[in-house]
Structure formats: C-alpha cells, structure tokens
Amino acid sequence: MSFKDLFDNEKFLCRGMLIVLITGIIIRLVLGYLFDYNNDVTAWTMTIANIDSGTGLYGVAGFYYPPVWGYMLGLFGEIIEHLGVDSLGDFFTDLIFMMELYEEPSTSTPTFNFAISMFLFIGDFLCALTVYWIIDQLTQDKKKAKMGFALYFLGINVFVISMMGAMFDSFSALMILLSVCLLIKGKDMMAGGMFTFAVMTKAFPVFLIFLLVAYLIKKDREHCVKRITFAAVGAIVALVILLIPEMMTGTVMDVFSFVLSRADGSNALGLLDKLLSYGIMIVYPAIIILEIILAAYFVKHNTENVEQSLLLFMLLATAIIFINPGTPQYLIMLMPFTIISFLLFDNRLKIPLIMLMIGSSMAHLTHFSSDMVAIVMYDGLISFDTWKTLYDINLGPDHITHIIIENVGLITQYIATLLAGYYALDTIGIISKLKKKLDSEEKPEETDKTI
C-alpha cells in the first residue's frame, strides 16, 4: 500500500489524515519543547515584555518586523501570562561566549518555547488546510487535496522553521493564500484586507500585487474596475487599522525597518553583507519589473481555467521574489504554491519540492546546538559541559563543517527556487515559446499550452 492509498475520496478525517495529523502533532510537540532558535525567540520575549510595559512595538528596540506578528505576540503574551507563565526568559553569563557568532547570551524558558510552538502550530495547520481547500475547490479531488495537506503539514522545512526556528512564516504564507482564495470566491474587499495583513506580516507578498490585480482584470474584464476598487478599499482600510498604534506614537517608519534595513546597508557587518544589501537596491526594482511583465502575460495568456492558471502563475511570481536569495524561513511562502502546482499541473515539481524541504532544513539545522540552549540552562536535560562540547563541534572556532553544510543547504534551496520557476515557466508555455522563437524558421507555430 502506497502513501497515496491511505487517503480516500470521502470525509476529511480518513485513516491517512489521522496518521498525518497525529504524526505532525507529535513531531511538533517534541521539537517545540526541545528546540528554539535563540536569537529570534528572545526577540519575541523582549517584544512581549515591551508590550506589557506599555512601550508598544517600536518604542524601544526589540521588534523589527512589520506589526502583524507583533500584535499576534501581544495576544499570545496576554494568554500565557494569564495562564500563569511568570518568566519569559533570562540572561546567562555562561552564554556570553555565543556573542562571537552574534547569538544572544539569553534564552527563553522551555515553557515559553513550547507555548510559542503551539501558537505557531495554528499557522502551520491552517496553511495546510488552505492548501487542501484550494485543491479540493479546483479539482473536487479529495485524495489530491489530502495529499496537499500532508505535504505541507509534514514538510520537514515547515516544522523545522516553525518549531525549531520559532518563525512565523507559515502565517505569512497562510494570509497570502487566503487572499487568493477570497479573490476566487469574489470576496474582493476581504481579499484586499488579507493581502495587507500578509504584507504587514513579512513584506515580501507585496510583490504579488500585480498578479492579483491581473487576475481581476482577466477574470471579469467588464467589472474589473469595480472589483479592483473594492479590493483596494479593503487593503487601505486594513492598512489604516493596522497602523493606528504607530500613527499614535509616531513610529510608522519603524514598521518598514525590516525592508529598509535590508536595503540601506547600514546594518551590514562585512563587505559581502554590504554588497548584498546594496544589491537589493538593484534586485528589488528588477523583481517589480518581472512581476509586472508576468502579470501582463497572465492577462493575455489563453486558459480554460483562470483559477488554476492563477495558482501556477503564483508559483512563478513567488519564485521571482526569491531571485534575491532568501533565508530558509522566507521560502516557506513558496511551499504551498509548489505543492499545489505539483499536484495539479506538473509532476516534475516534486524535485524542487524535495530540494526545498531538504535545503531549507539543512540551512537551519546547521546551528542546531544553539537551538538547545533552553533545555540546557533550565531543565538540565543535557549537562552544560556536554552541550558546550557539542556546540564547539557544531559552531566552535573550527566550524568549517557548519559553514559548508549551511551553504550547501542555501544553494540547494536556491536551485530549488530556480527549478520551480523554470518548471512553472515551462508548464505555462513560455519556455516552448522561447524555443519556438529560436527555431521559428524550421518548426510550425504552436499555440500556448492550455491549463
């Protein structure tokens, strides 16, 4: 019996789904308790403390992202503190040596780590559920939809990033997926609002605006102005609502520090960092141009099913964003579109999908020893000396192995991104069109592939 045979085409909770859910939950419970990336999770504890103290998200340093994740942390902090979690973390003199690798000498408590992992579980689960919903809606094939759910929910990089990295990229992916779903359902104002939520979570989805507008034009040319206006109103209203606290405190510019600090080079530590930072100033405009061209092509493109076509184009549009190489967590946004396109359009996409899972996980797992600090300092599950030996092997002065593995991971996920983009281009028919142009005199003309 293959993995596929575990899923039937009837109710949601079949045997296969129960196995997927239980496996995914157990893995998350274990990883969520044992690991958490020190640098990011201590930023979350500091953010919650800043909110508690009344200084908001940006009054003092600690939170560097657009505000949505900060607001979510506000609610999360209130819940756990109401439930009696009195200590978020501590500073440890024994960990000062970690600053050599720019890692914080502080750590959150295992209780906090476990709790934040369970909160991030919501994002993973809903994102997987949305993948299920999209495939089910577009194909009425529940078996395929369940496969989609399983691939996201059990994606190695998804639980590595959410549970070990304590990063919120599943929420960002979820919001942009929901935005697409709402547009398909004709809920344009809500779709606009959700798009703003996605952008105000992690900025990158902003580049997808051109394709989403193109969808409205293509889908309903007669009423597209009205629909775009509704979506724009939703987006603006959501933006105003989300920025009220920052408008009140005069910290609106801090909302964009995540993007600006990556573009002005002021935080760059070395020459390479500076080159990459300034490179962004060239890459970002190039990405915008490519996204506009793609959106224009989408409008002209012949297709029988606009919605299915939109999903494939979304994969390409997301891959374009990461022409500028992303860190492992950023690429979570690519996962749902790759999974959907793999199951719906092109079997070859399994290769970039697997590469993405392995590459991103490798790139993150290379500093696994520093993710274990909490259970060492608080629970003593591993003695400090044993852990320090492990840390030295993993990240110590001769950490050449770590650097090699990390870079192999980063290169693998980058190739996966390019490959996913290439297969999407090919499935859309652009590659064959280009080939045809090259040998136009020898071969008869072909029309676009129709999806």
Binding site: G56, M72, G74, G89, L178, P245
Partner: protein
Amino acid sequence: MNLRESYPVIAALFIAAIVICGEVLVVTSSHNDFNSSITVGNDSIEFRIESDDAHTYDVLSMSDTLGAPKGVYVYYDPQYFSMASDGMSSVGGRNLDEKYYIEQLEPTFMIRDINHIDFLNAKELSDLMDKDGKGNAVIILSGALPDTVYDKKEDSKVFSWLETGGRLYWIGNVIGKYVVHEGGYDTIEKGTSLFLGSECIDSEKHQGDSEIKSNGFRDSLYLQNYETTFGVNTSLLPEGTDYLTMGYTDGTYSSTTLVSYGDGVVCVMGGEYSIYQRMDLAQIIASGVGPNTTIVENINGSVQGTSKGTIQKGDSVFITLGGFYPVYCKNHEVV
C-alpha cells in the same frame, strides 16, 4: 452557511480577530497596569505589588542610596562633534546610533516610573551646570563633553556642578579624554584624571566574562551589559576613593563603576551602545544607586493579582517586575 464553501472567509476572520485583539492589547497595555506601594514600620517595610498577569518580582531594600533623581537630562547636540564609537548594530532593525539610543530613553525611563526627561544642547547643558547639581542626573552618550562646560581645566563648569551633588552618567568613549566643539574636537592629556583622579581607562576593546558577585547588584538589578570597553580599572583609582563597581568584569575593567566626586557622582558605563547598556543605565539611575550603596535585603517571587511581604528597612526600596525583561520598576523612598 456551508462551512466548506465559507472556509476562506471563516479562516480570514479568525486570523483578523487574533491580530486585532493583539493590536488592542498593544494599544491599551500601560505602566498603570501595575502598581506597588510600601508601608514603613520601625524595623521593617511592608510591600504590596499588583499585577493582573503573572510576572516574577524582585524587591530590593538598599541603604545609602542617592535617592530618585530630581531631574534626568540627556545631552544631545547634533551641531557639536560626537566622539561616540559606531555602536553595536540592532540585529534586523535600525542601527543603534546616538539618535536612536536617545529616542529610546523616554520609554525606557517611563517603565521605571521616571516620566519626564529633558534633552539639552551644549548651551542648555551649560545653563543647567551653572546651577546647583544636587539631585540632577545628566546622561552623556556622545563620549565627550562640549566646550561650554569642559575646558580642559579643573575649574571647568562640570566639576563645580559635580561638587554640588550632580550625577554624571557617562557612555561612549574614555571619560574626560575629549572636548568637542561645533567643528571638531581636542584631545586632553590626562583628562580622565580630572574626573576619576587617575588614568584608569584605556581605549582597547574589552569584554567581561564574569559577574561581579561581591555586592549582589548584578543579580538584584538584572544588570546585563557585559562589555567593559571604556570601563574603569578600579585598582588604579586613588586610595580612599569611594566607589562601587557592579555588573561584569574582564578581570581588570568593569562594565559599570560609580565614583564619588565631591557631593556628586560620576558613573562610567563600559561598552559600545547596546540594548543591554541602555537597560542598565535606566536601572542604575532609577534605583538611585550610589558609590556607597549596599543591599539590605532582596526578596523575589511571583505575582498574579496581589502579593504582599515584609523586607528589612533601608533608605529606599526598588521593585522590579519581569526580571531580565523588566515590565515595571519603581523606586520607593523610605521617609
């Protein structure tokens, strides 16, 4: 309503509800969510702490403190040269330069119940130092004093201000080594000696790796700045100098040292700019710790609702909620 059909709407509303609820909490959380008070008895002090949510607390009874400052002033004059080193980068966000450091001081002090600080340019600093210094705290982040208050001599305005009880909190470079003008700066030979009585600071980069445990302030005040660059080597201070060193040491230099100057105090904080240093600065100023301060008793615990207790009597009680991540601090003077 067909749940299957309405899934995106329900999921979007669910996410929006989480975000908006969190936003409301961000806007409505305030210093006033916490409260603390003391009742002074003959030999002991009863304290009372209130917090709706769970937080750890520390109650610190101290003697020979300076008391809470009457006024907190920060020198910042963009027209004048600054000798502050570039500073540590805030990972992922804005670079932590002098301007950003200063922007964060108001909220940092607000958490510690100091609700007003003044920013002074070179002329305004001079005007302040024309008056009696008693109870006033001046923060210098630029690593140098302007020529309006410091002219390389012992009779400079800053010294008479210190003599009368001023409190000078120094960050950013070697104390006394430079004097800045609108267009540049001068280096002063043995300038540190004018403030501390000896050349007990160098410009080399140092980092503390062990806590100064002897007086207990590192743990009680949750001091976190472990950098000792521009910090004081207390073994070189003139004999008989009253001083208190706390925080971290590299074996020679300390992250924080308070040294008596007449009726006033010079506090030298080591390291380049960092979040840790900013928090330590606020803890030290708000708690009123001085060169002769000692800890009478330190009690810690957890509060959700109201917590009460009794602590030995000193001349001030400093209450911290949140430990390493302070959410509320208040200095209670014992009168």
